[in-house]
Amino acid sequence: MIRAEKCRLIYNEGTCALETFDLEINRGENVLIVGPSGSGKTSLLKLVMGMAYPTEGKFAVLGQNISKDQSKAIRKLRTQIGPIFQDFRLLSGRSVLDNVVLGMRFLSFSQSEMKVSATEAIERVGLGHKIHHDIDRLSWGECQRVAIARAISRKPKLIVADEPTGNLDEENAINVLKLLTSLSDSETTVLITTHATHLVKHVNATKVLTMNNGIERCVAMHEEL
């Protein structure tokens, strides 16, 4: 699913975001990436999304090498990923349904399949009663749920969530993490970054990556516990 060999990421201005690391994440895993701000969590997700390219070594997602000369293939790879951005990146002035459907319009869904999949996803995140509401009238937590619905409605092979607990209180943060980890199955892998290390014990993850200017530790959840 995700494989890194002697991978290193240095940004153009010279900042070393990720020291050399190896990594293997398999299909169906539920992976938590924890660490303080600036530890490289988002940089790792940027590599996964093809928004950054490894300076050294190899990095592959769903069998696709992430490198500068693969931009077209990376665009295609993204259609198999369900991203949940820290700032959600929802389109204002549109309804919940429109936002969710937008993530599927260019995929191989028919018009009716899009509507069914979007409605199911919106109901799954508990927003069925607000399906036609304008996105601008929703709370922060509700917007996050819409972003999650947009990600899962695409039936992706990989769900990537960047700091989904960012602005939530502990109870809501745990609920969101539980919701996200419940999305993994034999076909879908879930990758979540969070700086809230104290929440890890509440979540049923298969693997935890501890970051500190690169991957410091990578352990299976049961070992951590």
């Binding site: 993204r78 937008l102 993530g103 260019f106 191989s108």
Partner: protein, 294 residues
């Protein structure tokens, strides 16, 4: 069906983009309408002058006035001599009364000015149909004939009209190029504004894996729509203008009714609308080039 599944989405996106860039779009549209309108008028001017010249040329007639008091034998002899000249197609004798009627017919409603004359002011003459390429030799041959008082041909008028027509054509050409460039700049600028206003949305779609054609289509439609709307509005304005001007102009130029204005205005209108569509599309593609891989 798959290709059409996003049509409604594209249309709704175009509406949103137009709404967000409202005032700027409106001003650009107004500028384009005026530019197209001026071009339409210039093209019409050129076409009309061309038509008039062609009309006059096709007649290619020379009027030969003879010395007064010639008897019928002398007139017949003169007619016969003219008919023998190479390049002369037809020689018709026009009496004083016929000359008067011809002028009254040309002047139409203005013919009442002829009533001010106590007697017929026109002279009898020979109307000679010639082939254009023999114009010079025919004129020289007629000039050398006895009993010829004067010759009047429309060469000078034709030459002047041709010069005016060439001048209008150059202006129309320059203006058309200027309009093309201006439309291109304005439309691609509108697209750039739209792209900048929607940078976050574009970036999100790219991160979701949307192909370029999906991202660009609403902007392409927006640019083409604005350009075509400008073309259509300018043509409507142009038709209204022509309708309003026609009665005034036809009083000044008696030959005006002979020109098929419908054909001219409709052809020029269609050309401008078609050009506006092509220009809008090309300029939009150019403006969209700034959406790069992110």
């Amino acid at each position: 069906m798959k290709n059409f599944k996003n049509t409604l989405y594209y249309i709704s996106e175009v509406k949103t983009i137009l709404k967000i860039n409202g005032l700027s779009t409106l001003l650009s549209l107004a500028s384009l309408v005026l530019i197209f309108f001026v071009t339409l008028l210039t093209l019409t001017g050129w076409w009309l002058s061309h038509e008039v010249i062609q009309g006059i040329k096709s007649e290619a007639e020379v009027s030969v006035y003879f010395k007064k008091d010639l008897n019928s034998y002398a007139l017949d002899a003169l007619k016969e001599s003219i008919e023998k000249i190479e390049g002369v197609n037809l020689v018709t004798f026009v009496t004083q009364d016929e000359a008067y009627e011809a002028m009254a017919s040309i002047l139409g409603e203005e013919a009442k000015v002829l009533n001010h004359f106590n007697e017929n002011p026109f002279e009898a003459y020979f109307e000679i149909g010639i082939t254009l390429e023999h114009r010079q030799s025919v004129l020289e041959a007629i000039n050398s004939l006895q009993n010829v008082a004067s010759i009047r041909d429309n060469r000078e008028i034709l030459d002047t009209l041709e010069r005016i027509s060439r001048f209008i054509m150059i202006i129309a050409l320059v203006l058309s190029i200027a309009v093309g460039v201006t439309t291109f700049i304005i439309t691609s600028h509108i697209i750039r504004e739209g792209v900048n206003a929607h940078r976050d949305q574009i970036n999100t779609l790219q991160l979701l894996g949307a192909p370029n054609r999906f991202i660009r289509m609403p902007f392409l439609m927006e640019g083409t729509l604005i350009s075509v709307m400008s073309g259509v509005f300018s043509v409507m304005l142009y038709f209204l203008f022509i309708m309003a001007m026609r009665p005034m102009v036809s009083g000044v130029f008696p030959f005006w009714p002979l020109i098929n204005m419908h054909a001219i205005t409709q052809t020029i209108g269609a050309v401008v609308i078609f050009s506006s569509m092509i220009l809008g599309g090309v300029a939009s593609v150019f403006g969209l080039n700034q959406i790069s891989e992110m």
